[in-house]
């Protein structure tokens, strides 16, 4: 399996290198869909210039990345292109290995199921995946990430989103491998980068508990002991990172400039998210209230989803990622690419998906319409922001439909696994499942 992966990596790197050399790179780097005020490479360069001049990079309200990023690029700024390609490769390889491990685990568990086969109705066998099907899925995941146009655009624009994705994928890998400390450290790094991955704490803990056979039961002391251990490692490393940033810069400037910027959304440059138009239109005195409402959206779904999906932490991670990338304050296409990479993992849900055709049509059309409407609004001056926001809205509705569709399909498969695939009513006629 290494050979196809290598081939894939070579192809992906070639595409990126070719695009870096072409005149398109500059065009892509200016697209608001691809870079956000946080992740724009232009702003990183500005921050570096300020740092070199001995001024705090956060003075002047241009640079909003974290101190670690700027110190990273302080050393590798000449190799920025390679760094970003490397980040994509790391993400893809980490996802590849992690997904492979997930399936090994599935298989071992399936053997366990085979032992107690009487628990499952016979007709559910077709819901199980055959090993041949599973064999290609890790490769497909890597392919979905590396060859996704969204990822390519994001990489060519040198959006720091690619680095965040790499950190996330390392977190995912270490969690799947069951390494508690590294998982906590990488999760903390991801949180440090953009706050929102905070919500991934829950699935990570659930997964590790499952792996170490700790019962997920709030009445058990072992459960709380485990949570305390994980949170201690997580908060400890967060403390170290924050302290390190302080000592690197010698000031707390970065806290309001990075996290304040993410949470209070002062920059209303249009992007593919839901915030900008809403807050540009709003009266100032409602701002705080709606800010809270919008931001709580990201964190709100964690608890119910964790309770519902407590036996399926990997799916929970996927759901959380999607929720983050839809509701975060400065989303870019790179964030979307990350959760889309997980779609092949759920290929066994395809028979239960209902709106996939509609959703993929809408996503496709919206992706093409973004630059068109931007052109009409900004350059031609014949359209206005409402046109662009309409497409943003449609794009996000499609994403939400996609995610809820997968969620529904997942639950439905679980239901069929317990009650049999061909449901009968009490009178013997065929029953249908209705989501209400």
């Amino acid at each position: 399996m290494a050979a196809p992966l290598t081939l894939l990596l070579v192809v992906a790197v070639t595409i990126r290198a070719a695009l870096f050399r072409s005149s398109l790179a500059e065009l892509i780097a200016d697209r608001v869909e691809v870079v956000s005020p946080i992740s724009a490479w232009k702003r990183v360069i500005e921050g570096l210039a300020l740092l070199d001049l001995g001024v705090s990079p956060y003075s002047g309200d241009v640079f909003h990345e974290t101190p670690l990023i700027i110190y990273l690029f302080h050393f590798v700024v000449d190799y920025a292109e390679i760094t970003f390609m490397l980040a994509d490769v790391i993400t893809a390889v980490a996802l590849y290995i992690a997904v492979k491990d997930v399936f090994l685990l599935f298989q071992s568990r399936k053997q366990k199921f085979a032992l107690e086969a009487d628990r499952y109705p016979m007709d559910c066998l077709e819901l199980m995946r055959s090993p041949t099907e599973m064999y290609y899925i890790p490769l497909k995941v890597a392919m979905f990430y590396l060859l996704n146009p969204f990822t390519i655009l994001s990489c060519v624009a040198k959006s720091t989103c690619g680095l965040n994705n790499a950190v996330f994928s390392l977190f995912f890998l270490t969690t799947i491998k069951g390494n508690m400390l590294l998982s906590a450290i990488f999760l903390c790094l991801a949180t440090y980068q953009s706050i929102y991955p905070l919500t991934l704490c829950a699935p990570a803990m659930l997964y590790l508990m499952q792996r170490q056979y700790v019962p997920v039961n709030v009445r058990r002391a072992s459960f709380w002991w485990f949570v305390a251990q994980y949170l201690f490692m997580y908060l400890g490393s967060l403390f170290v990172l924050v302290g390190l940033s302080f000592f690197l810069l010698g000031s707390w400037d970065y806290l309001p400039s990075v996290y304040g910027f993410i949470l209070s959304v002062p920059d209303l440059t249009p992007n593919i998210g839901l915030f900008w138009y809403f807050f540009a239109e709003m009266f100032e005195h409602f701002r705080l209230f709606f800010l809270c409402v919008f931001q709580i959206n990201v964190f709100f779904y964690t608890l119910p989803l964790s309770i519902k999906l407590k036996d399926h932490p990997v799916f929970l991670i996927f759901m959380q990622l999607a929720v983050i990338s839809i509701f975060k304050s400065y989303p870019t296409v790179g964030d979307i690419a990350l959760y889309m990479a997980f779609l092949p993992v759920w290929s066994h849900l395809h028979r239960f998906l209902r709106n996939i055709f509609l959703v993929s049509c809408v996503l496709l059309a919206c992706s093409a319409l973004f630059p068109v409407l931007w052109h009409l609004w900004i350059y031609a001056g014949s359209a206005n922001s409402n046109f662009y926001y309409a497409i943003t809205l449609l794009f996000n509705v499609a994403q939400i439909l996609l995610v809820s569709d997968y969620f529904y399909a997942f639950l439905r498969r679980e239901h069929h696994l317990t009650y049999g695939l061909y449901l009968k009513r009490k009178d013997g006629s065929e029953a249908t499942l209705v989501l209400k």
């Binding site: 055959s130 496709l364 350059y379």
Partner: protein, 614 residues
């Protein structure tokens, strides 16, 4: 959301859509065409009205007296032009200075990628002369432009004369709140491009020009003037700019309002307005006017010197004087008064023209169709593509359920990826060749064949286009072997969605182009399968391909202009239209040629490929 989650209702709707797919598609197509034809019917259109308050309620009095003197200046200009054999730069500078303007010149040069046989130019060198009348009443942050091209021969001398006359008259008025730039540009659009690029410090097309020495504020509006006779019977307003962009409708309204006030005959597309909308001939007149606008807009080329202003977010139009055999004539003084009135209203603007519509079609100068009315016509055509795609999707997703074996499924789709990717890649490579080769290999072609450069470019383009018809389906058979039934369905599904997105985006930027392409490509996309009679459908497919659509459009355009051409003339025109299209792309950045070569043609090739699917 009930529809999205209730399985019974979904199933009912989907089965309805798949069972009645063909009839619904036919109905949609007819309805789309009927809707479009209905747009020209006067009761369905809106009357134009002035939206901009700053131009609407204020009264201005036009007093321009010096039409005769302007004509004399024009004759002087003509004499100097003849003597110098081009643009009389020194005379223009001197005359403008004498009229109290700040005068500057700009030199530019440009070598065309291949000779332009229509206008007989290859290595273009020229000078723009412009004078700025500084606004006496305001801080000079905004400007208006009045331009007149210095054309070869006897054309446009009166326009330059009137421009200079207006300049000396405007100089003595005290109410100007915006700088007024009087521009005489050489080599029509090339000079205009150089001047605009110089003014805005951009360089998008790699032209050489000397930087501008004097600038005024940000330009709010511009008019380009074309007058070739001492008296005119009517004034024609030209709106279509680069890539089908139109100025704000208020500019047209302003022109119309002043024509009404002063009593000048005004036309659009060279067609007078008629009042008998309820008669057949009146309706067909309106349809002709609208179709001319649609064809001109679809061509994506600037139809007057104003066309390039629109790219810089400046509302601009060309006013062209027409002298026909009508007995009632308008003299130069009246035209001058009309322009004076328009500039005084524009002078009152407090912000850029933005109140009125940017997306419209005009069946006459007094009526327009806005985007909300014409988009459904396109939407009905685009819906066909989505319906066909839905139908295919249902077929494709129903297929695996019949054979209940998971393993064979995977094996069926695995080679599918290659057999679908191959035509996609090949057709796009053909498109890329069509885009880049004609201009690049003109030298080689000229060496080996007895043709001129221009002919070489056009004929190479046509040759690549035709060769593309033979290439893709052969190579596809070669590479991936037997195509499956599912293979072509997946390919067609992709091609349908591709076309739908492509046409949708095109229609948003340039409705006319999107609609014309939809008219010809949607039937092809809807009916093509490998199981229909090959020869007949191949002929239909070729007839409805983008290149043939262009050929028909050329004939249709001349038919509408009431200058029908014979087939041979039409063919020559067709060749020159292609060369002009490529030139427009190289010179001004018109997007029609790359759109056609890189996206439309490959997309059409996919359908061609499906027809010959083995």
């Amino acid at each position: 959301m009930g529809l999205l989650s209730d399985p019974t209702r979904r199933r009912a709707l989907i089965s309805l859509l798949t069972r009645l797919n063909a009839p619904i598609c036919v109905v949609c197509y007819m309805a789309g065409v009927a809707w479009f034809m209905g747009l020209a019917f006067e009761p369905f259109t809106l009357r134009t009205y002035m939206s901009e308050n700053a131009m609407g309620s204020t009264m201005v009095e036009e007093r321009f007296p010096a039409g005769e003197r302007a004509l004399a200046t024009g004759r002087e200009f003509s004499a100097h032009k003849k003597r110098v054999g081009g643009m009389p730069v020194d005379w223009l500078v001197k005359t403008m200075q004498a009229r109290g303007l700040e005068v500057f010149t700009q030199r530019f040069s440009r070598t065309l990628p291949f000779p332009d046989e229509d206008k007989e130019r290859y290595m273009v060198k020229g000078t723009n002369v412009y004078g700025i009348l500084r606004a006496p009443r305001a801080p000079r942050t905004e400007a208006l432009v009045l331009s007149a091209p210095c054309s070869p021969g006897d054309h446009n001398n009166q326009a330059v004369g009137l421009l200079l006359g207006l300049a000396s008259y405007f100089r003595n008025q005290i109410f100007w709140a915006k700088d007024i730039i009087f521009l005489v540009n050489e080599h029509d659009l090339i000079g205009m491009q150089a001047w605009l690029e110089g003014y805005h410090h951009t360089n998008t097309t790699g032209m050489d020009w000397s930087p501008l020495q004097g600038r005024a504020g940000s330009i709010q509006a511009a008019l380009s003037l074309e007058l070739s006779s001492d008296v005119v019977t009517s004034l024609d307003l030209i709106l279509e700019g680069l890539n089908g962009q139109l100025p704000n409708l208020d500019l047209a309204n302003l022109f119309y309002a002043f024509c009404q006030k002063i009593g000048v005959l005004c036309t659009i597309q060279g067609k007078l307005q008629r009042n008998d909308w309820d008669s057949v001939s009146g309706y067909s007149h309106a349809v002709q006017t609208m179709m001319l606008m649609v064809l001109k807009q679809a061509s994506g080329r600037p139809w007057g010197d104003h066309g390039l202003f629109l790219r810089y977010h400046i509302e601009a139009a060309t006013v062209r004087g027409i002298n026909s055999f009508r007995p009632y004539k308008t003299d130069c003084t009246t035209v001058g008064r009309l322009l004076e009135g328009m500039y005084r209203k524009l002078n009152n603007l407090l912000e850029r023209l933005h109140q009125s519509y940017f997306f419209y079609l005009m069946p006459s100068l007094s009526h327009f169709v806005s985007i909300g009315y014409y988009m459904p016509a396109f939407g009905l055509l685009a819906a066909i593509l989505l319906l066909r795609a839905l139908d295919l999707w249902v077929q494709l997703s129903a297929a695996p359920q019949r054979d209940e074996d998971g393993v064979t499924d995977v094996e069926q789709t695995a080679p599918g990826v290659l057999s679908i990717l191959t035509p996609l890649v090949i057709s796009h490579l053909t498109g890329a060749a069509l885009y880049s080769l004609p201009v690049r290999f003109q030298d080689v072609a000229v060496e080996h064949f007895p043709v001129s450069e221009t002919e070489a470019v056009v004929l190479t383009a046509i040759a690549i286009y035709t060769a593309g018809l033979a290439l893709p389906h052969n190579t596809q058979r070669l590479l991936s072997g037997e195509g499956t039934e599912q293979g072509w369905k997946v390919l067609k599904l992709l091609a349908l969605l591709y076309l739908a997105v492509l046409l949708g985006c095109t229609a948003l930027i340039n409705f006319s182009l999107g609609f014309i392409l939809a008219l010809s490509l949607v039937p092809v996309a809807a009916f093509v399968t490998p199981h229909i009679p090959k020869l007949l459908s191949a002929v239909v497919l070729v007839l409805l391909s983008p290149a043939c659509t262009l050929l028909f459009a050329v004939f249709f355009f001349h038919e509408l202009q009431e200058t029908p051409v014979s087939f041979h003339e039409g063919w020559l025109l067709y060749l020159s239209v292609i060369s002009q299209g490529i030139l427009d792309h190289c010179l001004y950045g018109s997007l029609l040629f790359p759109l056609a070569a890189l996206l439309l043609y490959p997309c059409w090739l996919l359908f061609w490929n499906i027809l010959f699917w083995k």
